[in-house]
């Protein structure tokens, strides 16, 4: 029902760019246009850039650009699973596969591209796939279940992503076959490729360069690849990722000009040879090239949407810098990565041992950055990219840019030093100026808030670190950053709340909230107060009003797992266990149908317990002498030990005994985050004590105490606090160190991060806990002793207390019934939780 004032716009293709065009057009002008969208895929537009995350557990719904309702809510007619098959340019109408005919004033082609499949004999065989759509991924996933060896043809950006996906899908061998003499030939140089290859090999990929595939062997299904040099590679599945081919077939039928090598020809306004038809995204050939990235596609959507509302705009050459994601090795290239002397000065850093390669190309006058390559460590990518794009004047020693700050200030130019025009989020074309305004004037000072108000960080996500820095920078400028208050209910830092609770002798959450806070609390402040109350008074965490303020794990004294069941980890101090106790674990696991696994912390985890079985399981374990292992709490986990002098020919002290003593001493103590420990019997360090929050290593004369170590995503070695001390001194120092940490750290901060942030660092810590410059060590020791003396096993208290025990059921009205939606699959003769995706 178009009226004469309505402009009819038809979009062909509901991919990322087609969707973005709709979003931009209706944001500019809603009433004037009548939009119709045709999509060939049955899904509404989804985020293809993050397609591989589908294998990591994201559902198709998570990947949607916008839910289906969004289209109807915005008055857009959407037909999915119905490709356009013909364009009648005379009558200005399109016809779909299902026979729908729709007229247009403007037609937008956003048909994207398909995978380019080289003409190799045998590509039609079963087990040969491309990697482009959700449907492709479903097919690959189900085929991979029975495949043992997989290969990817193409060692470019997408090929490597696909190869990593093969690994993640669990094939035993994953190969990458590349025609060129190096990986990612369009982004990185030979030296970078060499480092990348070694890194990928260490992840388990096998790389074959200079290989031209001639034949796909096998009768009906693929059995192997045969190469031009006569060699062969037996595989039972193959993903072809040899480049993209613009989808210009419809444009061809309609008689629009296309390029012999593919692509719909458009001018700078993105008009095809028919002025009322535009082409955007990966199907369009502009400036003699296809832009195979999402950010330029979004810019094209913007250019056409602006023109339709009457603003002249043209598409300018677009930056093609890229950062490889997901593969587990950082790779990035920006600007002109291949610029060479004499046009520039090239600085490279090549560390084969660490697997890091960095190259920057600096203009001959040394003033600006032309481009570069980063492999193995791309942390500086965003900064370098901005420095390059904005022609920022370089510091006198440009090598600092890639070698990082060597003692002292951050090298180069921080994000706050960039000009206001610097493009921070290239997907959404947001400049530093716009974002700063949003943060300072409109108060959008979290990444989440900025995502909502500006869409920053919602595209490729590459700008997120820079956006975070920007938020901090702006807040700092306004003098706002200093106080890290808890949430809307408490205008205090954790340390202040702890002090106030102590002074006022508060013991329940409601008392704390009434005294110090406002509103009704939330999931941020409740567990935090719960942890502080436990650190101060060590009363049962489930009593008074405290059960309902704990995070789910603490509330049920077990770790919640996929599907809503729990895992149970009994304490096994120092990793030492008797045969009888091992038998009990086996019996209990069998009786309750639990999956068992040795953890990375020298103990045993039993998974898949129904909430109502927990007290029964604990009862049996307690009977056999076990206690809670506090795997669920922000508390001591394990004190890992090596076997030490009791058996080991090198041991100089009894590390197992000391580990057990320490674990018994600190078990159950609540802290801002979990903490771990280890005790090694000699300098060989088999207990990895230096990677722990506190670690002890035996010496000929006594023990060396290290603190502030961390594994996790940012591993860090612990630092020496005291050398050659006896056990008693060592324990006293640990008491003080832990208590000082508990009293002063921010919420959810491990000791390593706390120590990194502590002004004065290690020397200050030593001054406080060893030299007692603050005069507080006696108090610290006393407070710790109180916690040690008031230890209780939380499991035992639940088992023995009918009131608490009653809370361990799934249905309060039918306590004997278990959650019927819990489902398990079997794997290697045990159970596993049913995957998220298949539960509904």
């Amino acid at each position: 029902m178009s009226t004469s004032t309505e402009t009819r716009v038809v979009v062909i293709g509901n991919g990322m760019v087609g969707y973005k065009f709709c979003e931009k057009l209706i944001a500019k002008e809603k009433t004037h246009f009548r939009l119709t969208v045709f999509g060939e895929e049955s899904q509404v537009a989804y985020d293809r850039v993050h397609l591989s995350e589908y294998f990591a557990g994201k559902s198709a719904d998570d990947l949607l650009m916008a839910p289906r309702d969004w289209y109807s809510e915005n008055g857009i007619e959407l037909y999915t699973g119905d490709p356009v098959v013909d364009i009648d340019r005379e009558r200005k109408q399109v016809r779909s596969h299902h026979g729908l005919v729709v007229g247009y004033d403007y037609l937008i082609l956003a048909t994207g591209s398909g995978a380019f499949v080289p003409p190799v004999d045998g590509v039609e065989k079963d087990g040969v796939f491309v990697y482009r759509t959700l449907e492709d991924l479903d097919l690959i996933q189900s085929y991979a279940r029975k495949a043992r060896k997989g290969a990817v043809i193409g060692g470019g950006l997408l090929g490597l992503e696909a190869a990593k996906a093969l690994l993640d899908l669990g094939v035993e061998e994953a190969h990458v076959v590349e025609f060129a003499s190096r990986l990612m030939p369009r982004q990185i140089d030979d030296a970078g490729s060499g480092i990348l290859q070694r890194q990928l090999e260490s992840l388990g990929l096998q790389i074959h360069l200079n290989k031209s595939t001639q034949l796909i062997q096998g009768t009906d299904r693929i059995e192997g690849l045969q190469f031009a040099d006569g060699t062969e590679l037996p595989v039972d599945m193959l993903i072809i990722s040899a480049g993209i081919r613009p989808r210009d077939e419809l444009a061809k039928i309609a008689g629009l000009e296309t390029h012999p090598r593919g692509g719909i020809m458009v001018n700078d306004q993105l008009q095809t040879s028919d002025p009322s038809i535009f082409a955007i995204g990966e199907c369009a050939l502009v400036h003699q090239m296809i832009y195979g990235l999402v950010a330029p596609g979004y810019e094209m959507a913007e250019v056409v949407a602006s023109q339709l509302i009457g603003n002249a705009r043209s598409f300018k050459p677009f930056d093609m810098s890229t950062k490889l994601k997901l593969i587990g090795v950082d790779v990035a290239s920006f600007g002109n990565p291949f610029a060479q002397e004499p046009d520039c000065r090239t600085i490279t850093y090549d560390n084969k041992a660490k697997g890091v390669y960095k190259r920057i190309n600096v203009s001959s006058d040394g003033k600006t950055l032309l481009g570069g390559i980063l492999v193995g460590d791309a942390e500086q990518y965003n900064m370098l990219l901005q420095t390059c794009k904005n022609l920022t004047i370089l510091p006198p020693n440009p090598e600092d840019l890639i070698l990082g700050s060597r003692g002292g200030e951050e090298a180069g130019v921080g994000v706050m030093g960039l000009p206001d025009e610097a493009l921070i989020c290239s997907c959404e074309a947001l400049t530093k100026g716009q974002l700063c305004h949003e943060i300072s004037e409109n108060g959008q000072n979290t990444v989440e808030a900025l995502k909502k108000s500006t869409k920053a960080c919602t595209g490729c996500g590459g700008c997120t670190p820079l956006v975070k820095d920007l938020i901090q920078g702006v807040m700092k400028q306004q003098g706002l950053y200093v106080r890290n208050t808890i949430c809307e209910h408490f205008d205090y830092t954790r340390q202040e709340v702890l002090d106030l609770i102590k002074i006022n002798q508060l013991t329940t959450y409601n008392e704390v909230l009434n005294h110090l806070g406002k509103g009704d609390g939330c999931e941020t402040c409740k567990p935090l107060v719960g942890s502080v109350l436990a650190s101060l008074w060590n009363e049962n965490i489930l009593q008074k009003d405290r059960a309902v303020i704990q995070d789910s794990n603490d509330r049920y004294l077990a770790n919640i797992q996929k599907g809503g069941t729990y895992s149970v980890v009994p304490r096994i101090p120092g990793g030492e266990i008797t045969p009888d106790k091992l038998i009990t674990i086996g019996q209990v696991a069998k009786r309750y149908g639990l999956y068992t696994k040795i953890t990375g912390g020298q103990r045993i985890d039993m998974f898949g317990a129904h909430v109502s079985d927990l007290p029964l399981i604990w009862e049996e374990l307690i009977e056999a002498g076990f206690e809670s292992g506090h795997a669920y709490g922000k508390a001591l986990r394990t004190v890992k030990s090596c076997v030490g002098s009791t058996w080991c020919r090198f041991g100089v002290q009894d590390s197992v005994s000391f580990a057990i003593e320490l674990e018994e001493r600190y078990k159950g103590i609540r802290a801002p985050h979990k903490f771990k420990s280890g005790v090694s019997g000699c300098i060989r360090e088999c207990a990895e004590a230096q990677s722990k929050d506190f670690g002890v290593i035996a010496t000929e004369k006594g023990w060396n105490l290290y603190v502030g170590g961390n594994g996790g995503s940012k591993p860090q070695h612990a630092q020496l606090l005291a050398a050659d001390v006896d056990k008693e001194t060592c324990t006293r120092l640990i008491d003080r160190f832990l208590m000082f940490y508990i009293k002063t750290a921010d919420p959810l901060t491990r000791t390593a991060t706390w120590l990194n942030k502590l002004e004065g660092g290690m020397s200050y810590l030593k001054a406080v806990v060893v030299d007692d410059v603050l005069g507080i060590v006696a108090d610290l020791e006393k407070e710790m002793q109180l916690l040690v003396d008031t230890y209780h096993c939380e499991w035992k208290e639940v088992v023995e207390n009918p009131e608490l025990r009653k809370r361990f059921s799934h249905f309060v009205n039918v306590p004997e019934q278990k959650d019927p939606t819990v489902q398990f699959d079997s794997m290697r003769n045990q159970t596993k939780a049913r995957d998220w995706k298949t539960v509904s």
């Binding site: 999931e523 303020i549 789910s552 809370r807 309060v812 959650d819």
Partner: protein, 116 residues
């Protein structure tokens, strides 16, 4: 279960007793095969009933979530990935694409009734 009065599509059910639900917390009841989360927001003197299933990963856990407020809005946070839902209308407060159903609830004589 005792039926009080019925409309065309829903019925009031006796769900559990007041003591079954911890103060300022929740628990789950089974009503005609459906899992309903009941929350006793005693700090505000209000009761709420919602789906027990979190729509994000279809987990039956919302009754085990921490409740609280955002501004004036009463809410519950899913224990899994902390999506938070308004207890009043079920809308998700940190991800527009999700929402849960809420159900009328009444307390009479120490008994909790829910209309499902």
């Amino acid at each position: 279960m005792e039926v009080l009065h019925s409309t065309t599509t829903t019925t009031w059910h006796q769900a559990c007793t007041v003591e079954d639900i911890p103060a300022d917390g929740g628990a789950c009841v089974l009503i005609e095969g459906r899992q309903i989360a009941i929350f006793n927001f005693s700090r505000r003197n209000e009761w709420f009933a919602t789906d027990n299933q979190c729509p994000h990963r279809h987990q039956m856990v919302l009754s085990r979530g921490i409740i609280g407020s955002q501004g004036e809005e009463p809410k519950v946070a899913c224990p899994f990935h902390k999506k938070t839902f308004s207890l009043r209308d079920g809308s998700c407060l940190n991800d527009e694409q999700y929402s849960i159903a809420t159900y009328p609830i009444e307390i009479r004589g120490g008994v909790v009734y829910v209309e499902v």
